[in-house]
Amino acid sequence: MKEFIKTYLIELCCSYTVISVVGAITNVIYGSETNNANVILMFIFCNIGVFVLSIHKLFDKLSPLAMIVIQYVVAFGLCLLVVFISSLIDEVSPRGWFEFIRSFTIVYVIAAGFYYYRLFRDAKDQQEMLKEIQDKAARNKFI
């Protein structure tokens, strides 16, 4: 549990830093501004994202594709709930919901695509390593 919390906090700090810096750069480029509520929401979304991704071991028996879909649905549902609660306090613009769905899904699809690419690349590397080991072993047999 201690290890889980340690890893969780490290990942949370890293992801929040990246998102904050990217958000600040985007604001500078487009001349927009953020407010305190957005900063808090960003932090909550980071928590949800890191938490949902960190429970991947619970889906060990499922295929990675099923795991990605389940994690997407859970994270999406939790984020949607947070936006809904925040809409009771502060008004969400008409395009806000659409923008939320779009920005959440695009990032997730890109991340899933990267995971898919890594999976194939790692398998290819492992296959090459295997061949090298097998070739060397076959050569040593004849010496």
């Binding site: 991947h56 071991k57 060990d60 295929s63 990675p64 594709l65 099923a66 990605i68 995971y115 898919y116 999976l119 194939f120 790692d122 398998a123 590397d125 492992q126 296959q127 390593m129 295997l130 090298e132 080991i133 097998q134 060397k136 072993a137 040593n140």
Partner: protein
């Protein structure tokens, strides 16, 4: 088979005497094992009654993989399936330098028998053997599998 062990500090060269009635495969395998100093893995054919079947010494080179099902351990070879009266972790320890690596909680595979490693459409990575069988590499074991391959590559 009866085994007598004698400790003698005075002898200059260690030796082994085998007394047998006929040269059975088991005796032959025993000789080969002693000569090549390979780890000994023995099992009984899985389809026979455990009390009746003769224990056979298995050559690790001939084993494709080990499978742990319902608290029973099986070794899969080209000639058949053998039931082993040991644990998967002890076999793993014995054969870790002979190309055997864990790919899931219940499977220990021989990397020299792997023909292909391929991810499926559902993102599960399967390894196939030259006998056509397929085994899935569990995500939790992916890192240790890669580390093992790196280690074996350096050793080779």
């Amino acid at each position: 088979m009866k085994i007598n062990l004698f400790e003698d500090k005075k002898i200059t060269e260690e030796y082994l005497d085998i007394h047998f009635t006929e040269m059975r495969p088991m005796i032959r395998q025993l000789i080969d094992t002693v000569k090549s100093e390979r780890p000994v893995i023995s099992g009984r054919p899985a389809d026979e009654d455990l009390d009746d079947g003769e224990e056979i010494i298995l050559d690790p080179e001939e084993i494709y993989y080990f499978d742990h099902v319902e608290r029973k351990l099986y070794a899969y070879t080209e000639s058949g399936v053998y039931r082993l009266m040991t644990t998967l972790s002890s076999v793993e320890e014995q054969l870790s330098n002979y190309g055997f690596v864990r790919v899931s909680k219940s499977n220990l595979v021989n990397i020299y028998k792997i023909k292909q490693l391929k991810p499926d459409i559902n993102m599960k990575v399967y390894l196939s053997f030259d006998n056509g069988e397929r085994i899935c590499i569990n995500r939790s074991y992916k890192k240790s599998f890669t580390e093992y391959l790196n280690r074996m590559r350096r050793m080779a």
